[in-house]
């Protein structure tokens, strides 16, 4: 992996496994949150029907797309902020 350059010590086996595991965990957590939130926002809880209505299905599609977009936007904002302030998530100094 050229990513780690030559100067740094090679990560140990355990560290490499944890790194990949964490990456997957972040994605899994995002998935769980998205399902929870979009279900809450889109799905009628009276359960008169066992299937998703057309409207609910479309709402879920849009909700997931928007969730990702918001995720992206917020991560961009935080990155910008932390670059301006030289690290940390500090709110206006």
């Amino acid at each position: 992996m050229s990513l780690f350059g030559f100067g740094k010590a090679q990560p140990t086996s355990a560290e490499r496994i944890s790194a990949v595991e964490n990456e997957l965990k972040v994605v899994a957590e995002m998935h769980t949150r998205m399902v929870k939130i979009c279900t809450l926002k889109c799905v009628d809880k009276t359960y008169r029907e066992g299937e998703l209505s057309k409207g609910e299905a479309v709402c879920l599609d849009r909700c997931s797309a928007k969730f990702f977009e918001a995720h992206q936007k917020i991560s961009d904002h935080l990155q910008q902020q932390s670059q301006q302030q030289g690290g940390g998530f500090g709110m206006g100094a």
Binding site: S13, R16, I17, H31, V43, E49, E51, A65
Partner: protein, 93 residues
């Protein structure tokens, strides 16, 4: 990109082991949440200790609908996640 690239075979096996354990836990979580949600949405009359026909029907519709929701959102999630990682890679990393 597949984040597991860069792991040796032994490391991949260890990772798989851990992910399997997590999957069991996640399934139990999912099951628990399903019971909580459907019970909360469908059962609110405690004049009898048996589930009424209406409640039973509501619960099975709730399970069907929740699974449909889960499936649909997981499909969208996979698509969005793939396009997001592709975008990240295009930005050059």
């Amino acid at each position: 990109m597949d984040p597991t690239t860069g792991l040796t075979q032994a490391e991949s096996r260890e990772l798989e082991n851990r992910l399997n354990k997590r999957q069991v836990k996640e399934f139990m979580n999912l099951f628990g949440n399903l019971v909580d949600n459907c019970f909360t949405s469908c059962v609110d009359d405690f004049t009898s200790k048996a589930l009424s026909g209406r409640e039973t029907g509501c619960i099975s519709r709730c399970v069907l609908k929740s699974m449909a929701t889960q499936t649909r959102l997981s499909e969208r999630f996979a698509e969005l996640n793939a396009s997001m990682s592709a975008e990240l890679q295009n930005k050059g990393r």
